[in-house]
């Protein structure tokens, strides 16, 4: 099967971007929107075609899925051994990601036609969306780690542009800046990791790197620094990059702020696609992690685990609906990371790998749904604050239903898809690490709790009086909701264990009810508590907040992470590094230069007395000069 055509999957959005970027301002908005949507629709069709073809049509059953380079050109020659190529790599995870990205992106495109209607930057929005789609598709199709880095950066910048879409809003500008800089910082780690990895293995290519007999894994041994091998270190650095994009602790702080962007953007980038790039990265390099550097994998697991509970706790206290969803995203991605972290390589061992990707897939559906739903709500009430909402279920019936489905899905209630993927993760965690497993149970409960807190807060709760009667979103917005809801419900039945596995070979997987039932129960408990507390207006939440005052306060203030970052940036970087350096530059370095000039000037003025105009003094200097010369050169030298 020739996969060269897959090249066009990312390229079509790119051309759309160019067209819209250069000429969009001259088009009527709807044309721009249609061009963007159609372009992406084309990519989506190609992606589905590829997926069906790859997974089913051209696949010989009972064999491992092959990793195929559909296309590759050299782009930049670096050293004797290292050349950066650009190309497309077709293998299970990339194909899966293609489906996820194009689906969600297409939904968002369609949705945005309605959501962004009347915005002066309409064409700009679609061109940015196309740019993002291009970058993200390029990222997942990367044949080598450097190409991935290239698109990784492009993804970052598209995200920057989209977060800062409302550029007249200072908070949006600040948020976009924050997102870019924080992820950029993490990318530095990624870069260093790439440098180390590529230097030691002599290749950027994923196929070579992940080959279990390839140079990367073969060189796994040896201790380089602090008891870990070079490979481990390089993978940890690479994971730093992944953690940055995926908003893992402690790089997560940009994610909540990123909600300043238009809601469809949040759905696309900050829920379904870009934020899982970190997961995808680890998955991409999974054989190297698993076989070459288990230590690095432990790091992944623990960071993922910690992030998930950390974010879940914060999510319980937030009042901005998009922020709740943002923390929820972080928590869910923590799940995925953890799943990867606890996974082994090959067959059943690779359960976690499979589970992680599975969850990635389902999460993309339901989280996009949640965000788009939230978008519809915001569209209706023009506010993000949970306090401004309530009792919306009758005004927004479709949104309400789809939102509820999404909530149930994320809470892991069977038979919605979230149940299946989460169960696999728990199963994998149970096998590997009981401690993490326990954490994940708690997170499951918290998730259910805060999601339903949100749900009740929006659609039930107090009777709020609205200035304008909220009305359901137009069809162009609700249809994507329905489609995603459909996906959320049924995605769980996909045979992931046969499609996306750590070594390409399928394995038998079944639901471990010993784990599943308690988790469902915990979810139900969470929902129940939320129902009690939030279904109608009660005083319980306040009492709870009072009794766990400190915890609540800490969680509400996001454990003061923002303050820590502010401290680091404002205080340390600005006040204690940059300002002194600038001062040093002006006063010490420059001052030295000026000082030299000043000294010369000063000397020039202070010796002017030598030129006194007095003839005899001149003569005296003359004679003394002669005598001194004599003294020196006749008697001393």
């Amino acid at each position: 099967m020739d996969y060269t055509y897959t090249l066009f999957i990312p390229l079509i959005p790119f051309f759309v971007f160019l067209v819209l970027g250069l000429m969009g301002h001259k088009m009527p908005p709807i044309v721009a929107g249609l061009i963007g949507t159609l372009g992406l629709g084309l990519s989506t069709v190609l992606s589905y075609f590829t997926a069906i073809n790859y997974f089913w049509t051209s696949h010989v059953p009972e064999t491992a899925y092959a990793s195929i380079k559909g296309f590759e050109v050299p782009w930049l020659h670096l050293t004797e051994k290292l050349t950066i190529h650009l190309g497309v790599l077709i293998d299970p995870i990339s194909v899966m990601m293609l489906v996820v990205i194009t689906t969600v992106s297409l939904m968002v495109h369609i949705y945005s036609i309605g959501y962004m209607k009347g915005d002066p930057g309409f064409y700009r929005f679609f061109s940015f969306l196309s740019l993002f789609s291009f970058s993200m598709l390029g990222l997942v199709l990367a044949t080598n780690i450097f190409q991935m880095y290239i698109f990784w950066e492009l993804v970052g910048v598209s995200s920057f542009l989209l977060i800062g879409f409302y550029y007249e809003k200072p908070s949006a500008v600040a948020a976009s800046k924050k997102a870019f800089i924080v992820t950029r910082f993490a990318d530095l780690g990624f870069l260093i990791g790439i440098l180390m990895l590529s230097f030691n293995t002599g290749t950027f290519d994923f196929q070579t790197l992940t080959d279990p007999h390839g140079p990367a894994i073969a060189q796994a041994g040896g201790v380089a620094f602090m008891g870990m091998s070079v490979l481990t270190w390089s993978l940890i650095f690479i994971f730093v990059g992944g953690a940055g994009k995926s908003a893992m602790f402690p790089f997560h702080i940009w994610l909540p702020d990123a909600m300043e962007g238009p809601t469809p953007v949040s759905a696309l980038i900050h829920a379904a696609t870009m934020v899982v790039a970190g997961v995808y990265l680890v998955a991409r390099l999974f054989p190297v992690f698993a076989l070459g550097a288990p230590d690095a994998l432990h790091v992944v697991a623990w960071i993922g685990g910690f992030s998930s509970i950390f974010a879940a706790m914060i999510a319980c206290t937030q009042t901005d609906i998009k922020r709740v969803l943002a923390y929820s995203t972080m928590s869910q991605i923590g799940y995925m990371m953890l799943a990867l972290g606890v996974s082994g390589y090959g067959g059943e061992e690779g359960l976690g790998f499979m589970a992680s990707n599975f969850h990635l897939f389902t999460h993309a559906m339901f989280k996009a749904l949640l965000f788009l739903g939230a978008g519809a709500v915001i569209h209706a009430v023009h506010s993000n604050e949970i306090g401004d909402m309530g009792n919306l279920r009758k005004y927004l019936p479709i949104t309400h239903m789809t939102f509820l489905i999404a909530c149930l899905t994320i809470a892991g209630i069977p038979p919605f898809s979230g149940f299946f993927s989460k169960d696999e993760i728990l199963a994998a965690a149970f096998r590997d690490n009981k401690m993490l497993f326990a954490i994940e149970y708690i997170v499951a409960g918290l998730t259910a709790f805060y999601m339903f807190r949100l749900y009740y807060g929006i659609f039930w709760g107090k009777k709020t009086h609205y200035h304008h009667t909220p009305h359901e979103a137009p069809k162009v917005m609700t249809i994507p909701l329905l489609i995603l809801a459909f996906g959320s419900v049924f995605a769980g039945f996909l045979p992931f264990h046969n499609l996306v596995t750590s070594d390409g070979k399928g394995f038998e997987s079944h639901i471990d009810w010993m784990i599943a039932i308690p988790s469902v129960l915990i979810g139900v408990v969470g929902i129940a508590i939320a129902t009690v507390m939030y279904k109608s207006e009660t005083a319980i939440p306040d009492k709870m907040a009072q009794s766990f005052k400190h915890l609540y306060k800490w969680a509400h203030r996001k454990f003061y992470m923002d303050e820590v970052y502010l401290f680091v940036t404002r205080k340390i970087i600005f006040r204690y590094i940059s300002t002194p350096i600038a001062w040093f530059d002006r006063h010490i370095v420059d001052g030295t230069m000026n000082g030299i000039a000043g000294i010369i000037q000063y000397t020039a003025y202070s010796i002017k007395g030598l030129q006194s105009g007095k003839l005899q003094q001149y003569a005296f200097v003359f004679v003394s000069g002669t005598v001194i010369l004599v003294l020196i050169f006749v008697y001393l030298v």
């Binding site: 006194s612 003839l615 005899q616």
Partner: protein
């Protein structure tokens, strides 16, 4: 060549005179006396030339003629100097060297 009088005597005299002249040049305030000090200096040099010629190289007259030329030069120098000094006297109404310091620094 003078019996019993070594060359060094001459040299001591001339050197002493030379530096006396210089001292005069450095301390006399009157321009004319400074000029006189210069004459002393030149005179000391003449003594040197003549003494060397006589004591060391009497076959030729190099020092001898050098001395003659120096005298001529001294004369022309003095002539121009005095002309300028008179000019200065007209302008400054004084020939104190201390006054001749309009230009400085």
């Amino acid at each position: 060549m003078i019996q019993n009088i070594p060359l060094s005597y001459f040299l001591v005299i001339s050197t002493a005179m030379f530096f006396i002249g210089i001292y005069g040049f450095l301390t006399r305030r009157n321009l004319i006396t400074m000029l006189m000090s210069v004459e002393l200096i030149l005179n000391s040099v003449n003594i040197n030339f003549v003494a060397f010629n006589k004591y060391l190289f009497p076959q030729h007259l190099q020092g001898h003629f050098f001395m003659l030329i120096v005298i001529a030069v001294a004369a022309s120098e003095a002539a121009v100097a005095i002309a300028i000094i008179i000019n200065i006297y007209r302008n400054f109404k004084s020939i104190d060297v201390e006054n001749v310091d309009e230009m400085k620094f």
